[in-house]
Symmetry: C2
Subunit: 396 residues, 2 copies
């Protein structure tokens, strides 16, 4: 895997330009602009125009885009709001793990896959990747909506549960004998989340002003915010959860205590990098899947199972909020991402998954990413979706 | 050359954290913070602590940092101011090429190098890399100073002259027979510069409002600015000049016509990425040079020649502004960067340069980057340096 053969500014121009152009086209067609940015990645990628290939630099820009996206979402949310919905969110996360796991396992077993393959596909489908949803909610100024808060809180809990399930399954299927360490990892991850969620804001309130007043640099508060972002993302990785969860917690911890200027500077970075995250999903789309009708059928079946299981599983857990909000929560939990790709790669390298099962999971990741903005547009357009748009955008 | 073995957030934390920490330490020692950020790269790099190694992703972040630095500098400068000083700037650029070329050639010839080696070292020393200087001037709010404007205009002209000299020398030394194409490239490069410098602002004034009013996205003006940045950087590369010259011209073209918000969003990106540019210079520092006393002596001699030739050559051409301003212009033209590294790599791969001559050039790049902030601090601290600080910072 070596770098792009294209000079960096040309690669930036192609990816950023295609994303923004298709975003505008989709907006004119009354489709979610985000879906346009994902399609843009597939369009310029190797399967279609072939202008650009996935490479390490684009992967890094995409990962940074996801980090800054979740960080900026965290900056707009109050910890107290998330804690208030934490009981519902825990139920949403738990049912939202069990249903997709069962659905993935059932589809692959019915299709004639091996026991281990079915277990792995099930595990790949459990974890929600909240980036797409968060981006739609932020764009539509819905972050302070109750359904949005449940989605964000559930996504954090979901990540820890997904980690446990993947560890258990890969220890059962691959015989890694890692089961012993799973509970330690889970405890560590939960301790990390609890410490940051409960004490993060208080620590920031205590230390930020003194760092800020002592620093000589212009924009020192922004530098401190970035350092907290990188530090918590790194810590999240080491405790076993996704880096974006750490980024979200960093934003949460800072939310109540930073200047508006820090938000605006962060917005500058997000505006640059988030299109690389979105187009990066499309860039991984592999048209090879369409060579076999059987694989296409399987892919569509698994995609349907992946969508339905989250909508129904998470929705059922959120029914106490009324069915409209339950559908919103369900739709918001649909997207899969990094964890599914990691599970797929792990399955491929340990020879548990066939190449076609691998490409099916990639298809599901791209497919859910494309469907989520549409589902959110539909569910939030229903009556009651507008009422709680409390947050004015500083950017419009 | 494969990627960093470190997870991305960890690499970001190390580089950004070390840069900001040493920047603060240097500020407290009354040294330029920028020099601290360069030293930070050397400190965490393979020659000292070994926490991190140069890799493709860090290189890309560093290159993006340089692009956004020059873009944001361009946004703060008026084309008319640069055109007014263009006659002096052309003289500064021309003398600032001849003197270092002669000095590099003379030192290597006296040292017993081959004719081709001496020619190559001379060519490697000619091109100023204006990033460091621009960063110091922006930090000290000196961009509207007359000396600063001469430096910026001269750096653009310098880049085209440096391109011609490198092409001529590598065609003489390497026998590439490229001499025929050199003049075409030079004409193309000058045409590109002239078109953008003269008509860029007018084109932006004509087209920007109509794009902006038609776009549906939030922050559409920022997106258009970024697309112009990437497009002109790419075009610059294709016409043969450095990408950062294109980035600077994009900033210049937009300067008079974009909102304050675009500047603030750009600042967010610069604050994140410029430390990667600065630390990236230090990261390339190779302590192997200190194994041979003879090489150290040669390196110090070439560094002295590189500094003195720019200060005296460029200074002489700017003497009409008084000797204080002449020294400022000379100091500002000292840093070498990408072009010197490219010349060194070209010389190494065509076997014209020995490995020690190569490492001497790398040493000169790092050394001039470190010395420039100090030289600018000294020359601009002298009487007359404060009087023209016209520009208030929005960020402090």
């Amino acid at each position: 895997m070596h770098g792009s053969p294209l000079p960096l500014p040309v690669a930036m121009l192609i990816v950023f330009g295609a994303a923004k152009l298709l975003g505008e086209v989709f907006a004119r067609l009354h489709l979610p602009p985000l879906a346009g940015e994902i399609v843009a990645g597939a369009l310029v990628g190797p399967s279609m125009l072939g202008w650009i290939s996935p490479n390490e630099v684009l992967k890094a820009l995409s990962d940074l885009g996801a980090l800054f996206l979740l960080f900026s979402i965290g900056l707009e949310v109050k910890v107290a709001d998330l804690l208030r919905v934490s009981a519902v969110a825990a139920a949403v996360a738990a049912l939202g793990e069990l249903a997709p796991f069962a659905a993935g396992w059932a589809v692959f077993t019915a299709w004639g896959g091996t026991r281990n393959e079915a277990l792995f596909v099930g595990a790949a489908l459990v974890a929600t990747s909240v980036g797409i949803t968060a981006s739609v909610l932020a764009e539509r100024k819905l972050l302070n909506d109750r359904a949005s808060q449940i989605i964000l809180a559930a996504a954090v809990i979901d990540d820890v549960l997904g980690l446990i399930i993947l560890a258990v399954v890969s220890s059962v299927a691959g015989g890694h004998g890692r089961l012993a360490g799973v509970f330690l990892t889970a405890v560590l991850a939960m301790a990390f989340l609890a410490v940051i969620a409960f004490w993060g804001p208080a620590l920031v309130r205590r230390w930020l002003p003194s760092f800020r007043s002592r620093a000589r640099a212009d924009e020192a508060e922004f530098h401190i915010a970035l350092l907290l972002l990188f530090a918590l993302s790194a810590l999240a990785l080491y405790t076993g959860v996704a880096a974006i969860v750490g980024a979200f917690l960093a934003g949460l911890a800072l939310a109540a205590h930073v200047d508006k200027r820090v938000r605006t500077l962060t917005r500058g970075v997000s505006e640059l990098l988030v299109p690389f995250f979105l187009a990066g999903i499309g860039l991984n789309f592999d048209a090879a899947i369409f060579r076999s009708k059987r694989t296409v059928a399987l892919a569509l079946l698994v995609l349907a199972a992946a969508v339905a299981s989250k909508v129904l599983g998470c929705g059922a857990a959120a029914l106490s909020l009324g069915w409209r909000n339950a559908l919103r929560v369900g739709a918001g939990m649909v997207p899969r991402g990094e964890v599914a790709m990691i599970a797929a790669q792990l399955g491929l390298t340990t020879a548990v998954l066939s190449a076609s099962a691998y490409s099916v999971i990639v298809f599901v990741v791209v497919g859910t990413a494309l469907l989520t903005p549409l589902l959110l547009q539909i569910t939030f357009a229903a009556p009651g979706g507008q009422e709680s748009r409390q947050q004015a955008s500083p950017g419009t």
